[in-house]
């Protein structure tokens, strides 16, 4: 075992004192890790900027996460507030604004462990939904943190179905005010981040009533706490919703409003307004609302979700070459657990998935930026496609990353269960993404609805947007694969995925049609097909991801070595997908049983190929030790020492517990005389 002189909490990633088992893995890399990192960052310049920003954060002890796993909910919250405040100071000092691209690197460096994230949503919603006067009034206050805002939409009894929200805002022409009310307990706002203890203001969504008529859901700015002493405003009941699986640093809150009045000007009025005489006015399309949702979904994938899988892979792969267990060959040392085929099967497809999703996200961002500009200019043509694409991808990517992080956790055996592995934290955090910003099942069904429409358009001979153009291609009957090598041709597996997506959608749509024709009401028919429709939407998303991975690899022509390993990963991702869903591909006889045996063989061979580059492939994600916050996954691989020393710092080892004096001592008395 190498000498291990601790000079701090974590050593820097350039430490030369590395566990020899890890070092050996790095020596045999088939490509330049640094160049791959640059590819992932979108250029070496970005890598440099990112590292510089990360260094700023890591140098400041306020941002240290060493004690994070030991902290109570209260301490986590306080630390997150402190970090948010410190971050604001830093940004002011250095003149960094929130809209600069490099600011996003802060969030990566902080691991999301900072308060006031919803404050940004508050600002964005005012920018999107407010009039110019409202923006001029509120945004400067929010920028300076003179007010802290949250976005209160979800209620205790209502989430997915916005029209079902129960909070009311009633306009009174005599006072020119809205009165906000929470008519019953299920209408209480529940879950908004920063609401429980921090926020002074909230954008509250409520059903608008004017002169006895309901005009539906509208946004209102409501002050919920005093700016003087931070106490709840009159009529406001506000608090924290209690412990959760994670996100304990955020005070997700509840909010009950009892006859809270706000001036008429506090209704966000870019798209609709109530005039002093009570006239309701609508102007322009509020479709732009969708854009806010899309922005949040696209951002969360980049900031929270995909990095969680990449970090989990980094930790699990590094640990799996340091951990040795049992013998592969008698007489030899115990083997690295990554040399076991079963361990490779758990981790390497996830590693391929992490890359696939990274590239997918890069594509979505490009697609989205283009659409965003068009939409801001009033051209909504690309909105349905953008919405469908981001809904489905949000769902499948959060599913993949959540399931993947959990597999990584269990693949680390007992030590994965320790909080100090970092994996429970990563898992419980990413797991929330399956329900926030749209429940995944609901999102898949939104994508499915769009696909069913597109299919109808294809049948009617109408043009289709690019991401669904494949639906109009004709299907070949049989896959012509004869050898394992044939399976490594991207055209082959892309076609298998395309066909499967196309078939599952056609089957579901045909079933839907048949039910409707047999007299079922459309919504009844829809519900009875939803299991199939979800499967079709998933298959569609998987095809898009495979196709995008193939396209990305093709474009890497300037980086021959990287292109080669990425091609292997792409093959692995695609073949693993077939191997895990054999039934879908066998069902209509497109792939035969014999061909499926070739898929299995080819897939298993790829595991061995990628095994040798596994550590360089996770190194290329370039997470700092501070960022991973894991005893198992640090760059130098000194797993056991770190685990031991970190555990000793646990408060359970520092604080005196009454348990012995009060409960154990009385039991032990009798043994004193006998031992």
């Amino acid at each position: 075992m190498a000498q291990w002189n601790r000079s701090g909490y974590f050593r820097s990633s350039v430490s030369r004192d590395v566990n020899p088992d890890l070092e050996a893995e790095r020596r045999t890399a088939s490509f330049s890790v640094e160049r791959l990192t640059a590819v992932l960052d979108g250029g070496a310049d970005n890598t440099r900027t990112r590292r510089a920003m990360e260094a700023v954060i890591h140098r400041d002890p306020v941002f240290s996460r060493e004690k994070q796993y030991f902290q109570s909910q209260n301490e986590r919250y306080e630390a997150a507030v402190r970090k948010a405040v410190r971050l604001k100071e830093k940004m002011l000092q250095r003149g960094w604004t929130e809209n600069r691209p490099e600011t996003k690197y802060f969030y990566r460096a902080l691991g999301g462990d900072v308060a006031f994230n919803v404050h940004r949503v508050f600002k964005n919603s005012i920018l999107a939904l407010g009039t110019d006067e409202q923006i001029a009034k509120w945004i400067p206050l929010a920028e300076k943190y003179h007010i802290i805002g949250t976005y209160a939409q979800t209620e205790l009894g209502h989430g997915t179905f916005l029209r079902g929200l129960e909070t009311t805002a009633t306009f009174d022409t005599s006072t020119q005010e809205f009165t906000l009310n929470t008519p019953r307990i299920s209408a209480m706002k529940w879950w908004p981040g920063d609401l429980g203890r921090s926020a002074t203001h909230a954008v509250v969504f409520a059903q608008l009533y004017v002169k006895g008529e309901c005009y539906g859901l509208h946004p209102f700015i409501v002050q919920i706490r005093s700016l003087r002493d931070h106490l709840p405003a009159p009529g406001v009941t506000v608090g924290d919703i209690g412990p959760k699986m994670n996100f304990e640093h955020i005070d997700n809150g509840y909010l009950m409003l009892q006859s809270v009045t706000i001036p008429r000007e506090n209704m966000l009025g870019r798209f609709s307004q109530v005039l002093p005489d009570g006239t309701y006015m609508k102007r322009g399309s509020d479709k732009i609302n969708y854009l806010t949702m899309i922005v949040t979904r696209v951002e969360m994938l980049w900031v929270e979700v995909i990095p969680a899988l990449q970090k989990a892979c980094t930790i699990a792969v590094r640990y799996s070459v340091v951990r040795r267990q049992s013998k592969l060959n008698p007489g030899e040392a115990e083997a690295k657990i990554l040399d076991y085929q079963t361990q490779q099967q758990k981790l390497l497809p996830l590693l391929a998935t992490a890359y696939a999703l990274h590239f997918m996200n890069a594509y979505v961002n490009k697609f989205y930026s283009k659409g965003y500009t068009e939409i801001r200019e009033g051209n909504f043509d690309s909105l349905p496609e953008l919405h469908a694409l981001t809904s489905g991808l949000k769902a499948i990517i959060t599913d993949y990353c959540t399931a993947g992080a959990e597999v990584c956790l269990r693949a680390c055996g007992g030590h994965g269960y320790s909080a100090l592995s970092g994996l429970p934290f990563l898992y419980t955090k990413v797991a929330a993404s399956c329900t926030y910003e749209g429940d995944n099942t609901v999102l898949f069904l939104q994508t499915a609805r769009y696909l069913v429409k597109c299919l109808a358009a294809v049948h009617a001979g109408q043009p289709t947007p690019p991401s669904v153009a494949y639906l109009s291609l004709t299907n070949s009957r049989k896959c012509w694969v004869r050898t394992e090598a044939d399976l490594l041709k991207p055209d082959i597996y892309a076609e298998a995925y395309r066909r499967r997506a196309s078939r599952l959608l056609s089957t579901a749509a045909a079933k839907l049609q048949a039910l409707i024709q047999s007299g079922a009401e459309e919504y009844v028919a829809w519900n009875r097909c939803t299991v199939q429709l979800v499967q079709a939407a998933k298959a569609h998303c998987q095809y898009i991801i495979v196709k995008n991975f193939i396209d990305t690899v093709e474009k890497l022509t300037n980086e021959a070595e990287i292109q080669k390993i990425m091609k292997h990963l792409c093959d692995l991702f695609a073949l693993h997908g077939i191997f895990s869903n054999t039934g879908d591909f066998l069902h209509d006889g497109y792939i035969s049983g014999d061909q499926m045996d070739l898929v299995t063989a080819s897939y298993l061979d790829l595991l061995a190929v990628i095994r040798s580059d596994a550590v360089p492939l996770v190194d290329a994600f370039d997470f700092t030790d501070e960022n991973l916050n894991s005893a198992l996954g640090s760059y130098d691989g000194h797993v056991y020492q770190r685990l031991y020393e970190w555990a000793q710092k646990s408060p359970t080892n520092q604080q005196v517990s009454q348990a012995y004096e009060s409960y154990l001592k009385p039991l032990f008395q009798g043994a004193l005389s006998k031992l």
Partner: protein, 661 residues
């Protein structure tokens, strides 16, 4: 009671009480269980704050208090039957664990089974009286699965007639044992025995670790808590490092192997007997898989019938989310699985007791199969339940993520069972080893018996992939017995494929170990298919034991759903082996959806039949009365962040910053 739940209960087609009796093993046992549970419920001393609001140190303290109290109450009430103790404790603990758990199980067990009579006389009374509290220290920081790799040493010194215990490296530090960090003053330590200069392998030693009277660690002992974990917050899983720590020769557990005063080592006889204990513990984990999944299903299904969302029919009120096909598709297969695993747990327990009888009469013939089977079933059920609990949690949307749902606690407490008592992949491979051995036996003309006897069919009539017509009978997708056959064929096909692939690797002149490793993905698949077959078979067999027609009808639907859903998730295996045609697979998909609709009216009654008291369930979402929203609010008010109306962070950080900006 919430109106929706009332309606659900009124519309059930069967009497859940009868099903409860079936699950408990008789009406009398149900009565007795409830009687014991009432003892806890009516005892004010067992009431305490929700552990989720407490820090780890506080939780540990509550847990210790409760452990001590449980011991006293059980004695007071004279409860001594293992099942009854279990009922009592699980009512006290809910989703949580007790730091004294290993004392009552592994520590006491080891003393009972591995001590000489003299040793027993000395240690057992102290153990029963909790005058010493012990744990079982086997796993080390760097070593878990591979026992021979453990590094702790116990070197015999004939001069003083003592063993000298050492943790020679960081990796050799004992790590993970429950109750080791703060609670125990004794441990049974597994160490490599050295005597007369030779290593004699792993042996067990009784080691005092803390001072009687002060509870301080003894000189030469470093002991502590391993820090926060995913769950088990109230448990002091610990580390233990020993530096030249001496214990008397008599502290080696010497029922089997012995070290004489002069250092002479006396070898043990057969060690197959320890198989029995392993089978028993695995059967407990299978039971735990069933129960944890039952609890998660109870919460998710009750919540799904109280929660209303969106529109099914325009203009009508929002429907219960349980009316959505996608929600049924998430939850009902898990409900069926929970019932299936309950059967498996009961079967394993029964078989264990039967075989233990045989063992006492010297008959060990059934033990190897049961040992092999129990490994796979432990892995199969715990993997499935692990995923299923999370599925239930996510089916509860955002509220499932709150600790008030109780689902995070069930999950984090359950998930380590995929790792402890044998890592699941390793367990699957153990079963595979037995399957391959049985296959080889059949290939060489010998018959095999028990659950693997289907392999006998392979010798006469080779499985012919893709030739359905050659089958004696086609699969009937509405007949559980026929589905058992289908699962059997799938298992034989996958066992055969794995065995052949293994042989092919061997033929390439690879070493045994290398070939095994290169085939292990296939081998795990074969094991899974075998276990799946066993579960379907046991569930189907249980149907014949149900007398009540209404209960039988609903259980038949569940059994069918379990079997068909399993096929729908592995259609590739059934298609590739030619067990089902493409058309049949389409029918299976369709039938699964019909069964969802058929089970829907009984869903709440089916979870009510598990008969979990609210206190045991520990979930606001899963309350029997369904009054969830008002109780979520009540629960949230107790959050530590709500102790003061203005949090101190405001004064410490926010106000000063606002002044500066």
């Amino acid at each position: 009671m919430n109106q929706d739940l009332r309606k659900e209960r009124a519309s059930a087609s069967f009497n859940p009480e009868l099903l409860t009796h079936l699950l408990d093993g008789g009406a009398e046992r149900t009565r007795r269980r409830r009687e014991i549970e009432a003892l806890v419920l009516n005892d004010p001393e067992f009431q305490h704050e929700d552990l989720n609001f407490l820090s780890r140190s506080q939780r540990y303290e509550v847990a210790i208090r409760k452990s001590a109290l449980m011991v006293m109450r059980l004695r007071e009430y004279g409860i001594a039957d293992p099942d009854e103790i279990y009922w009592f404790k699980r009512m006290c603990l809910g989703s949580f664990v007790e730091p004294l758990g290993l004392h009552f199980s592994m520590f006491t067990n080891a003393l009972q089974n591995q001590c000489t009579v003299t040793q027993q006389d000395k240690w057992l009374p102290l153990t029963y009286g909790l005058q010493i509290i012990g744990t079982y220290a086997q796993t080390e920081m760097g070593h878990g699965t591979h026992l021979r790799g453990l590094e702790t040493t116990a070197t015999y010194d004939p001069a003083t007639q003592e063993f000298i215990l050492n943790s020679p490296t960081v990796t050799s530090i004992k790590w993970w044992p429950g109750g080791l960090g703060k609670t125990s003053n004794y441990a049974i330590v597994l160490a490599q025995l050295y005597t007369q200069g030779q290593c004699k392998g792993l042996h067990a030693f009784i080691v005092p670790i803390r001072q009687m009277g002060t509870h301080e660690p003894l000189p030469g002992i470093t002991v502590g808590d391993i820090g926060p974990k995913f769950g088990y917050d109230e448990m002091d899983n610990g580390y233990l490092k020993m530096d030249n720590f001496r214990i008397p020769r008599e502290n080696m557990l010497m029922k089997y192997a012995k070290v004489e005063p002069d250092g002479t080592y006396v070898k043990p006889l057969s060690d197959k007997l320890t198989y029995g204990t392993m089978v028993f513990i695995r059967s407990l984990i299978v039971g735990d898989s069933a129960r944890s999944l039952c609890r998660a299903c109870t919460i998710a299904i009750r919540y799904s019938s109280v929660r209303h969302q969106s529109e099914l029919t325009p203009g009508e009120p929002e429907p219960q989310i349980l009316d959505y096909q996608t929600q049924q598709y998430k939850l009902f297969p898990l409900l069926a699985t929970a019932y299936a695993f309950h059967c498996v747990g009961a079967y394993m327990k029964k078989t264990y007791h039967r075989i233990t009888g045989d063992i006492n009469q010297g008959n060990l013939s059934e033990l190897p199969e049961l040992h092999a089977l129990s490994a796979g079933l432990k892995a199969f059920t715990s993997w499935t339940a692990n995923a299923g609990i999370e599925e239930c949690r996510m089916a509860c949307g955002g509220h499932g993520y709150s600790r008030c749902s109780g689902l995070p606690d069930i999950y984090v407490t359950f998930t380590p069972s995929c790792t402890y008592e044998g890592e699941n992949t390793v367990m699957m491979l153990q079963t595979a080893r037995f399957l391959v051995k049985s296959y080889t036996q059949v290939s060489s003309g010998q018959l095999v018996s028990g659950m693997v006897s289907y392999l006998n069919d392979l010798s006469g009539q080779r499985i012919q992939p893709q030739q359905v017509a050659a089958r004696p009978t086609a699969v009937l997708i509405n007949d559980p017995a026929s589905l058992v056959e289908a699962y059997k064929l799938r298992a034989s096909r996958l066992v055969e494929a794995a065995a052949k692939n293994l042989q092919a690797e061997l033929n390439r002149r690879k070493s045994q170990e290398d070939s095994w490793n290169r085939t292990s993905v296939d081998l795990v698949r074969a094991s899974e298919a075998h276990c799946h077959y066993v579960v379907v078979k046991l569930f189907t067999a249980q149907l014949s034991e149900i007398n009540d027609a209404a209960v039988h009808a609903v259980m038949s639907n569940l059994c069918l759903l379990y079997a068909l859903y399993g096929i729908s998730k592995h259609t590739g295996d059934f298609l590739q082996a030619g067990i089902l045609t493409n058309a049949q697979v389409t029918q299976v998909y369709q039938r699964v959806k019909e069964l969802l609709a058929a089970i829907r009216p009984n869903a709440v009654a089916l979870v009510d039949a598990f008969d979990f008291h609210d206190n045991h369930l520990g979930s606001v979402l899963g309350r029997y009365d369904g009054n969830i929203y008002e109780n979520m609010f009540e629960w949230a008010k107790k959050s530590p962040l709500n102790k003061t109306e203005v949090h101190e962070s405001f004064h410490k950080h926010l106000k000063p910053m606002q002044a500066k900006l």
